[in-house]
């Protein structure tokens, strides 16, 4: 049970929202948008790996081919 993955993703989310706020406050809205996008993509990469692991184990367990 890798709980640290949850903390990692939540930490990334909080960090990205802080970066977003700082960038917007100094008037760089486009860069803030880009950070959000990059953050979501990075998190998605992690999550997709986990989901593929889930699919793999369900496939072997219930003999779905």
């Amino acid at each position: 049970m890798d709980v640290d993955l949850i903390f990692k993703i939540a930490g990334l989310g909080i960090l990205i929202s802080i970066i977003d706020k700082v960038l917007i406050q100094s008037g760089r809205d486009e860069q803030a948008q880009m950070t959000t996008l990059v953050g979501v993509v990075v998190v998605l990469l992690v999550v997709i790996q986990l989901i593929s692991r889930l699919f793999e184990s369900v496939r072997t367990m219930f003999q779905l081919y």
């Binding site: 990692k8 930490g11 990334l12 960090l15 802080i18 700082v22 100094s26 008037g27 990075v42």
Partner: protein
């Protein structure tokens, strides 16, 4: 685990320091430009009203300005007084090189100062004063720009260093 924690702390610390350094450059530039303006103003009065020789004027001014600029002016004076055949322009240019490395000025500010160096101690009094006035006006303009850049960038860099460090640790841990 222990090594991991120490490593993360080192990464976060160094990233924050880089951020603070860059933010520091943005913070110091307007201040330095302001100091330079006041130093040039003093130089103008020295040349215009007291007609003191250049090296003596520089010596007097360097006692009243902030340390970095004072060092710069003292350097010019020393180059002049060593009697190695430097003209005022060469002395000015040589010390400006050192000063530029230490200060947070950018290339434009340096160009203004080295432009001024061409006329200092060479032409007539009124001509020198005209050029000093021009340099002060240009520096004022640069200061205004630096001020807006400071407002835009200083906070961002201060935050960004720390946050980038934490982000790196989170991604690689």
């Amino acid at each position: 685990m222990f090594i991991k924690i120490i490593g993360s702390m080192v990464v976060i610390f160094s990233a924050s320091m880089i951020g603070f350094l860059i933010a520091g450059a943005y913070r110091d530039r307007p201040k330095e430009l302001r100091e330079l303006q006041s130093a040039l103003l003093m130089l103008e009065t020295e040349i215009g009203y007291a007609s003191t020789p250049l090296s003596e004027a520089l010596d007097r001014i360097s006692k009243r300005t902030d340390p970095k600029i004072s060092k710069f002016l003292k350097n010019v004076k020393e180059h002049l007084q060593k009697k190695q055949g430097y003209t005022a322009e060469e002395a000015w240019e040589k010390s400006l090189m050192d000063f530029y490395g230490e200060s947070s000025l950018n290339l434009e500010d340096k160009a203004i100062l080295s432009n001024l160096g061409k006329y200092i101690g060479t032409s007539g009094t009124s001509d020198q004063i005209k050029h000093i006035k021009l340099a002060i006006a240009q520096l004022k303009n640069q200061e205004k720009k630096a001020e807006s850049e400071k407002y835009k960038n200083e906070k961002v860099w201060r935050y960004m260093g720390v946050l980038a460090g934490i982000l790196f640790v989170l991604l690689t841990i």
